[in-house]
């Protein structure tokens, strides 16, 4: 098991390195000059050159890359060209907002998705199953921004029971946090619930038809145990992967959700910074997002080992 974990960590490091290279070079390949965007078209060539020099933008790309990446390891994340402040500071201001929406969304989506999927599979062919399948297909096919607008219209404009937009964190009082975050969390989790429900249902149906389930039933094991002990553990193995992949969806989704609900989080920052060619913010955010994603995958791989003895015992 230790060997297995070490192997996974080494692979993760390689992936993080490659992502850092991509994040850096993709940003620099984009046409458009950040200095021109900040100083405007009227700025003199001397001013532009001076700022370029100050931000090391005239250095060769390779040396810019090494300057950035070595900064990351020493806690210096570069300076945001739009805000003229350290990029790390800006990101750490925005991050809690995104996490306080994204994490509940992910947790709720996982729990609800697994419950819905299991119920759907166990009651296969029933009206409940049809209803859940219809709902999940609908929400998979509906764009997040449209649902967001619809939710705002119904709950904020017509019913006036929830705020239209803005953000209150848990530190502003739980009730406030709840009021402001319920719509964005719902909006963000809808797609994920649908995905996880379908994945769980499919796996569960597959597992229920396995020989060992028949054996368990033939041995007099109660139906509750057959489903929750024998079937669910096997069915959840692929679902765990699905959930880890949702981390990516949360981050992608937060770009849209934060825009709709006007939440000043990482998603919004990222969108702005790409338009402003704010290299340091984008590179550093993408780097940390990839770090989180890779870390989640690592955790899943290790979890896999616990769920699936075959992986744990063979050391891979």
């Amino acid at each position: 098991m230790v060997k297995f974990i070490i192997k996974r960590i080494l692979i993760s490091l390689v992936i993080v390195f490659m992502v850092s290279v991509f994040a850096f070079f993709l940003m620099h390949i984009l046409p458009g000059d950040p200095v021109r965007i900040v100083l405007g078209d009227e700025a003199s060539v001397e001013d532009v050159n001076a700022l370029r020099e100050e931000l090391h933008l005239n250095d060769p790309l390779i040396s810019q890359y090494f300057k950035w990446i070595s900064g990351i390891f020493t806690g210096d994340y570069g300076t945001s060209i739009t805000y003229m402040r350290p990029a790390g500071e800006i990101i750490s201001e925005r991050l809690p907002k995104t996490v306080s929406i994204g994490l509940p969304a992910l947790i709720i989506a996982s729990v609800v998705g697994i419950v819905f999927g299991t119920v759907s599979a166990v009651r296969r062919g029933s009206k409940l199953d049809s209803a859940l399948t219809l709902l999940s297909t609908l929400s998979l096919g509906t764009p997040t921004f449209w649902i967001g607008i619809l939710l705002i219209y119904v709950f904020a404009v017509e019913l006036r029971i929830l705020p239209m937009k803005g953000y209150m964190g848990p530190s502003d009082g739980l009730l406030q946090y709840f009021k402001y975050s319920i719509l964005p969390v719902f909006c963000l989790s809808l797609n994920m619930v649908a995905g996880i429900t379908r994945q769980t249902r499919t796996n569960m149906l597959d597992v229920i038809n396995q020989d060992y389930i028949r054996t368990a039933r033939a041995n007099g094991i109660s139906e509750k145990k057959v489903i929750f002990k024998h079937a669910l553990k096997n069915a959840l193995i692929p679902v765990i992967t699905q959930i880890a992949l949702q981390v990516r969806v949360v981050i992608g989704g937060s770009v849209i959700v934060e825009q709709i609900f006007n939440i000043n989080g990482i998603g919004m920052l990222l969108r702005e910074s790409i338009f402003n060619r704010d290299y340091m913010i984008v590179q550093t955010s993408v780097f940390f997002i990839s770090l989180v994603t890779v870390f989640c995958n690592l955790v899943v791989d290790i979890l896999y080992g616990f769920v699936n003895p075959q992986i744990r015992k063979s050391g891979w």
Binding site: G125, Q210, D211, Y212, R214, T215, A216, R217, A218, N219, G220, I221, S222, E223, K225, K229, H230, K233, N234, V307, N308, P309, Q310, K313
Partner: protein, 329 residues
């Protein structure tokens, strides 16, 4: 007269699909006496496994349904038990051993976990006691180092060993009847003999009864005391193993016997297969279901109802053919 442990009377099980009703078990009756080994023989898809699954009430519903009949186990009709009573019956009174040992154990739990779970379902005992009963049961089925094996996962064991684990569960729970559905089909030949000998030994020493479901006539002749031959959802001939082997009356049974190779006879004698293939159970022909493939059919075989089982000899020898005893063929 021997005491009957289980008696199945006029059992009918069908599957309902878009293509219509599939009569998988069509008016089947059989019984097993205490301490007896009985074989149910037939081709794939003749309803032999479905018959056993119906006895256990493990038919998936929908699409399957037990339409009528009685399954009397020591006089009690299993089809009338509540779901919970039936569940506790499974594994404790009747144990079932399946064809696919490789996939019949849950891959994510240890052998010990799965064995003691079944024990704890049927007996009031602590985890520790269940574990000890499990170890003893593994030893009873000749699994070496049972204490260590209890901590293994199924993928760490061979097919033969896994089949022994499944047999151990039956032993541990003291089932009176073991239903072995093609218990050795997935195993290699040497393991087949070991597993069958083990089963035989357990049945004989512990006074259990056993139903062996198989398509392998060679296998059953060595172990079974009586044989039921099934074709297209019905029993077409039944009798003692001796009667079936030496004095078969039904053309289908004769066909089966001719298609089994004999080690002691002339190597150059060609095996004689039964022509054609079994009928679709969704669309059975009129009259005798075997008639289209039968060399001895007459006009009467192709119309009317399927022939009934008729006694054709002493020792409860029955055959369902219109020509029974009337004419030699």
């Amino acid at each position: 007269m021997m005491e009957k442990l289980i008696e199945v009377k006029n059992l009918k099980t069908s599957f309902f699909s878009l293509g219509g009703e599939v009569k998988a078990v069509n008016d089947v009756s059989f019984h097993v006496n205490k301490g007896e080994i009985v074989a149910i023989v037939g081709e794939s898809g003749c309803g032999k496994s479905v018959t056993q699954m119906s006895v256990m009430r493990l038919i998936q519903s929908p699409p399957g349904k037990i339409l009528s009949g009685e399954v009397l186990f020591e006089g009690r009709d299993l089809l009338k038990l509540s779901t919970k009573e039936m569940r506790l019956f499974r594994g404790s009174q009747i144990a079932m051993i399946f064809q696919e040992p490789m996939t019949s154990l849950n891959p994510v739990y240890t052998i010990g976990n799965q064995v003691s779970e079944v024990i704890r379902t049927h007996f009031k005992c602590s985890r520790k006691e269940a574990w000890d009963i499990g170890v003893k049961a593994l030893r009873d089925v000749d699994i070496p180092e049972p204490e260590l094996r209890m901590r293994n996962y199924p993928f760490e064991m061979s097919g033969g060993m896994r089949q022994r684990v499944l047999i151990a569960i039956a032993v541990a729970c003291n089932s009176k009847l073991i239903i072995a559905d093609e218990p050795t089909t997935a195993l290699d030949v040497t393991t087949q003999a070991q597993v069958m000998d083990l089963l035989l030994n357990i049945v004989k020493t512990k006074g259990k009864s056993m139903i062996v479901v198989t398509h392998n006539l060679g296998l059953v002749t060595r172990y079974a005391e009586r044989i039921y031959v099934m074709y297209a959802g019905r029993i077409v001939e039944s009798g003692t193993t001796r009667d079936i082997l030496l004095n078969a009356k039904h053309p289908y049974t004769k066909g089966l016997l001719k298609s089994v190779p004999d080690l002691y006879e002339d190597k150059d004698v060609a095996l004689i297969p039964i022509k054609g293939s079994p009928p679709s159970l969704a669309n059975l022909p009129d009259g005798c279901a075997f008639a289209p493939r039968c060399d001895y059919k007459c006009e009467m075989c192709l119309t009317g109802k399927a022939p009934e089982l008729v006694q054709v000899g002493d020792n409860e020898h029955y055959s369902a053919c219109l020509r029974n005893g009337k004419e030699e063929f």
